[in-house]
Each structure stands twice: as C-alpha cells, then as structure tokens.
C-alpha cells in the first residue's frame, strides 16, 4: 500500500462500520511506514480487533436499516405503478413477468436494487437492442423521471443496493488514486481509458460516466464487473475513487496532447507516423537540387 496512514487517519470516521479504530493501530501501512511494530502494540491491536467486531455488528445493521427505511418511504404508489408500466412495456420480454428472469435472455431482477437499474438504464445499456457478449452503452431511452419510477418499482421487489444521493466526489483524492489502481486499473486502465477483456468483452472507458453511474456500477457489479459492496469499499472510499476518476479525467495534460493516455502503443505510433514521417520528408527535400 502506498497511502500512508496520516492520510487514512485524516478521514472522518463518518461510517461506523468495521471499526475505524483498527486503521490507526493495526494497519500494515502504519507498520510499513514505521518498520517496527512492537509486541505491545500488537496486544493493543488485538483489543482493538475485538472492539471492531462489536462495532461491525452495529455497522452492518446501520447500513442495512436506512436502506429499508428509504425504500419504504420512496415507494409511493403512483411511482410504483408507473414503474411497473414501463417495466411491462420495455423489460418484461427478457426479465420475465415477475422479474424472475428468462432463461437464456435476461437475469432475475429480484433483489438487484435500484443502483443496478440506475446504472443499466441511465447509461443506455438497457433496454438491450440485441443479445451480445456485452451490452454497449447507448443514448438513454427513458427520461430521468421514468428511470426514477423504474427504480422505485425494482427496489420495491426484493430490495437491494439503493441509489445513493448527495455529493459523490468529496472523498480523498490520493486515497482514491490508490484504491483505483488496486481495484479498478487492472481492467479500466491507469486513468479509466478502458481495456479489453477476454473474447470480445471489454471494460468501458470511464470518460463519459457521471458520478452516480460509477457509484452504482461499483455497487451493483454490472455484467462481468465484480461487485464492490459497501463492506468492501466503504461509501467514503467509493467517493474517493469517483473523485480521483473525475479529477484525472477532467484535468488538462501538462505535457501536450495526451494521445489517448494509453502509453507506449500510442507513443510508438506517433514516433513512426509523425516523427519518422517528418524526418523522411526532410531528408527527401534535402536531396532536392535548387
């Protein structure tokens, strides 16, 4: 890990889930930095671990409970009905009459949660035009209002990760970078340019993704993307990652044209197509007689 602990200490303990106390005493990062971890400290760490277990129990409850509450409050009957209507018009063919899924066409939507709906519909991936290796992002079919209604309908059937709200970029930038390189860069490239996966599948570029889309993608793990639940990457950490992605995507390149920011392949192309061509032009011209 490259983030130093002062940094993780600086994060506000806003989410009472898996014992933030651990972070200051038991992290190998701290150990790596100081390069000495005394036995005494280890004992303290054990105690802290116990405390953490207790806090965690509370944390688990507190993360689940609000979700239920929100769900109950939001599902006003009108939205629910409108959502069901949209579902029956656009989704039912592949996902079945009761969201149970249709074999070979679409998965069950029971318990996938509003986050998944938001991601799939808001990026235009759903409704799918045709069955393929991977659903591509397309122009959005539904209006924001319709999407909200659809979310209400799906969320009411089995719950699941809900769509978050508020500022999704207020996390720590450097921590976000570290987490991005550890968890996301392996598929989405160093700064979210996207990359190829096996047999025609791909990790899409994150350039045009808005905050909520990235957040809901992490939360729901669409298609082949692994799921990053809130107990794996805290909401705070997710917001850090989003902050990093959006900051780096939006910042200008200090050294000239970014040529896709994909590294040596683009650079090799440029040296041959631009550099060598320019010089070849030069040496042909040098041979000209006046």
């Amino acid at each position: 890990m490259s983030t130093t602990n002062p940094q993780s200490d600086a994060q506000p303990d806003d989410v009472p889930r898996r014992g933030r106390a651990l972070r200051t005493e038991d992290t190998p990062a701290a150990a790596a930095r100081s390069r000495r971890l005394s036995k005494a400290r280890r004992r303290v760490a054990n105690v802290a671990g116990l405390m953490a277990a207790l806090v965690l129990t509370g944390a688990l409850y507190s993360t689940i409970a609000p979700a239920h509450a929100e769900e109950a409050g939001a599902s006003s009957d009108a939205d629910y009905e409108a959502g069901r209507e949209i579902y029956q018009n656009s989704c039912i063919t592949c996902h079945g009459e009761n969201l149970e899924g249709v074999d070979g066409r679409g998965p069950s939507l029971i318990g996938v949660g509003g986050a998944a709906v938001y991601f799939q519909v808001h990026t235009g991936r759903m409704p799918l035009v045709r069955q393929a290796e991977q659903g591509p992002d397309k122009p959005v079919v539904f209006s924001e209002e319709q999407i909200d209604q659809l979310i209400t309908y799906i969320q009411a059937n089995g719950g699941g990760p809900a769509v978050p709200s508020g500022n999704l970029r207020d996390g720590d930038l450097a921590l976000g970078g570290e987490l991005f390189r550890l968890n996301c860069a392996s598929c989405h490239n160093f700064v979210g340019e996207g990359g190829a996966l096996s047999s025609g599948k791909y990790a899409p570029s994150l350039h045009d993704a808005d905050d909520l889309e990235i957040y809901t993608a992490m939360l729901s793990g669409p298609e082949n993307m692994p799921v990053f639940g809130d107990n794996q990457l805290t909401p705070e950490e997710k917001r850090s990652i989003i902050n990093y992605i959006q900051t780096v995507t939006e910042m200008p390149d200090p050294g000239g044209a970014g040529i896709g920011r994909i590294g040596p392949v683009g650079e090799g192309l440029v040296i041959w197509v631009v550099g060598i061509s320019a010089l070849m032009f030069g040496i042909f011209w040098m041979g000209t007689k006046a």
Binding site: D26, P28, A29, L37, A290
Partner: protein
Amino acid sequence: MTTHDTRPGSAGGADTPGPLHGGPDDDYTPEQLAAMSRDDLDRLGARYDGVQVLHVDPGPEPGSALERRYVRQVGAVFMLAGLAAFAFVVVYVGSGWFLPDWEWTIDAGTWSSLFTPLLGLLMGLSLTLVGVGMVLYSKKLLPHETAVQDKHDGSHFDRVTTGATLVSGLHKSGLARRKLITRSLAFMGGGLGLMLLMPLGGLLKNPNTGNPLGRTSWAQGVRLLRDDGTPIRPGDQVPGSLETVFPAVTGGNRESDAATMLIRLRPEQVAVDRPREGQADFGYGDYVAYSKICTHAGCPVSLYEQETSRILCPCHQSQFDITQGAKPIFGPATRALPQLPLALDDEGYFVARSDYIEAVGPTYWNRERI
C-alpha cells in the same frame, strides 16, 4: 644533456631535418604555390587526396536578382529561428514573472498547461528553422560541385613490408622457440583474467538459502488484511466480488509475492466449482483465495470477469478459470494460480491455514523441487 644545452647537434652530428620522402613539398616550391590561385590550390590539394572535381554548377550570379532573393529567403529563415529562440527565452524566464505562473497543478490556469507545449513548439521551431536555413543555403547559394574520389585497394607493398616487420619482430623475440615462456604466458593470462573477474562474485547470492522464492509471508493463523489494514469477515463481501488481500505481517502489503485475491463466488459459480485435487477444502464457504501473481511472468492478475469466472492477466492475456481451481484456459500461462487455504480465527476473521503449498509466481528451473 642538460636543458640548458641548446647547441645544435649536441647529441653528436648536425641537427637538421631528414629528407622528405617524395612529399608534395618536393613537388611544389613555395614560390610555385604562391603563384597559384586559391581555386587552383583547392583543386591541387584535392588531387593529392584522390579527389577530382568534375563539374561545378556555380551558385547564382553575385549581385543578381536571383541571389538577392535567395539571400533574403535564407536570411528570413535564420531570422525567424532567432525570433523563436528569443521567444523561448521569454516564455522560460517570464513565466511567473510578467507571464502567468508556469507551475502546473490539476486546477491551474491554461498557461501552465501551455508552458511545456510552448517550450517545445518554440525550441522545435527555432532548431528546425536553423536546419532549414542551412540546407537552403547549401542548396540555393553554394555552388554545386560533383566530385569523384578514388577508392584505394590495400597496397601490396604495405602488406609485404608490414608483414615482414611483424614476423621478424616475433622471430627475434624467439617466443616460438622458447616454449616455456609461451606456456607460462598462457598460464599467467588465464590466471590474470580469472583474477580480474573474481570480484564479480560479490554479486552472487544463493537463491536457495531460506527458500525466498518458494515462500511467502502467509502462514497458519495469519490474517487476511485489506490494503488499508482492516481484517475481513465472511459477511463483508457480496457474491461476485473480488478483493486484494495481504498477509497481516509488517510490510505485508508491499511484499512482491504475497498479494492474494479473495473471491466470493456467486451461487451459480459454487454449483460448478471444481477445485484442484486435494484442495477441495482450501476455500471457506463460497470464498476462495488465489495468488494474485501470474504464474507466467509475475504480473498481478486481477481482471476478474465475474460472469465468466475468468481472471485475465493484462500483460500477456493468460486466462484462468476460478471455478476450475484457477487453471489456465487461454494464453501462455502453464500453471494454475496457487490457492491459499482459508479458515476463520476465533474472532471470525479470515486467516490463512498455511502458506501456499507451492511456489508463487513465475516458473523457474527448479520450482518443482522447492
């Protein structure tokens, strides 16, 4: 002889230069040379170098309109080159003084992201124009001459005389006869060569001492920690997720071979899961843990496709199927990713049951034996 002794011929005999051997100075007296024009001298010297100027296409007539035009062209190019060079100086020096600050930050103004491009553009322009000016000058204003230079084959005379000198020197040394000396020389040469190479031995280190290649920090009871140092409970991950975990030892998250992928399988994956022989109990519930270090070239593999259960290595595209014991199914990798045996400790956190039972990372000569 002392340094004060400046008399000629102090070593005996007259101190006069020896005769010159057929050099050009014998062929041409200074008077003759002085009488020749500069062009003739140039041609004469060239002839001594085996060069003959065949044809000269003189440059534009001095004072002609054509010459004036070319001079203007070349002059303008050099002028522009100088202008660009001075502009470079202005941008370099002036940024942060009378121009906006050059220091680039993620949210700094436009100037700072134009600073490097401007430097490159101006320096590139200036240098390219200098080059263009020089070439233009040679093309338009210099006379074009076509010269032919002779190529000499090796001289038979030189070969014979040099050979004689070498062989006679060798002969006089008597090395061919004095076998003892040649042999001792050979012996000495070998010893000396080896001796000089010996200090390189300092580079050698026994790779088998303590088996650093075959071991990681994982051991029985070592907790699985996240990158931020927190331990993990079975409830923390949702099905279809992957998390990179490290051993709970000092510097564990910096260790090159210890990084491990903790994967929670989806029920569909559990249904088809076929662990490797003898490793059926390495997982814990629907959790499995595999080494993140590719068995091919050591890159971290973690392009996890949760629907196809594949792990893809971004370096050489080896693909591993985690429902088949992370066996390679495509690409250049030959071995499955080693699996870490999992258990829970008293507090309900994931721990390793032991180290990996095989060497982690790229294959090498005696890997199987470690």
